[in-house]
Symmetry: C2
Subunit: 196 residues, 2 copies
């Protein structure tokens, strides 16, 4: 999505080890007009996916999930991160490794809100190693729910998450795929001609 790529190029900050900081408009301060445009594009890309539910994970995935769900006329279910080891029979639970803290955490959704009759569109702001998306796919599988697709704002194409999800035959759309940073510090995006 050209609009997002241009914004990352303009306001993203390239840090050591190819870390690109976008907290001025995505994951701390949220530019809601940009989110609205990203949601338009995800809704266009997934309008025929058959999804009846948008699933995301707290915290920063909630904004994009809500804007996208509004465009598609669907409800949102957000998986909660839990740190307790309590076994609760009323929830599905999956484990993920945090990219930022390198600690494992569990995510849960209530069995009441994810059922075999659901087909979920998974939405999140980032995909690097794919831990969060794969944990949500795991929750859907436990519930017997279908997966209509995965929509991501920013994918780090030089990490394995995107390839892993695509290798499962899942329709993944990332609105910007960063393949790396060139020698002169310029962010390199993967070409995606089918996107706006």
């Amino acid at each position: 999505m050209k609009l997002l790529e241009e914004r990352i190029r303009r306001d993203g900050k390239v840090k050591p080890h190819s870390v690109i900081k976008v907290d001025g408009f995505i994951n701390h301060r949220i530019d809601v007009e940009l989110y609205d445009a990203m949601a338009d594009e995800l809704a266009r890309l997934f309008k025929n996916s058959g999804a009846n539910l948008v699933m995301t994970i707290e915290a920063s995935g909630i904004a994009l999930a809500c804007f996208t769900a509004k465009k598609l006329g669907l409800p949102v279910l957000f998986a909660k991160k839990v740190r307790t080891k309590n076994i609760d029979d009323d929830v599905y639970r999956a484990r993920a490794l945090s990219y930022t803290t390198d600690n494992y955490y569990d995510i849960v959704v209530s069995k009441e809100y994810l059922t075999p009759s659901d087909s979920v569109l998974i939405v999140d702001d980032f995909c690097a190693r794919g831990e969060a998306a794969v944990a949500m796919l795991n929750l859907a599988e436990q519930a017997g729910a279908g997966v209509a697709g995965v929509g991501i704002a920013v994918e780090k194409g030089f990490q394995e998450g995107g390839a892993l999800i695509r290798s499962k035959g899942i329709h993944l759309e990332s609105l910007a795929i960063i393949d790396g940073v060139s020698g002169n510090g310029e962010i390199v995006f993967r070409e995606q001609p089918h996107q706006s």
Copy 2:
């Protein structure tokens, strides 16, 4: 707000100790149409508040903050919960007590995104003891920012948070104020004739 009161009456589940569970449409599964209507009402109530920024706290406050900010044409800044004790010079930090876990946690915002020229509308989904809202007021004070108001979806009127915030002279609007549960299990809402 009658629409929210009716929804809580219809789909909220009254649990022991006057706990009212609304996770089917507010804080786990999100009814985006309801959120859109709540955002319309908050935007109407605060349209002349002078706010230039909507501030909330991860996780479940993000949805209402984003929808409200979209109506008002403003960006969102969401405070992050941190569990590390690291002192970071680049952030303002405040402490709050979690209502659900009864543990203290810190919230932070980057100094870059909250400044003396800002006037914040604080938005959150719940207000019980007021810990989260007061911590956000504390962040605004540290930054020298003004406070344009506080908008809440559901206030538990039988706990002290709402009264505490109003006692500071802050314009607080809660779209539903639950004053308690009557002997026959009916939820009692506070009259708010100025709301839709």
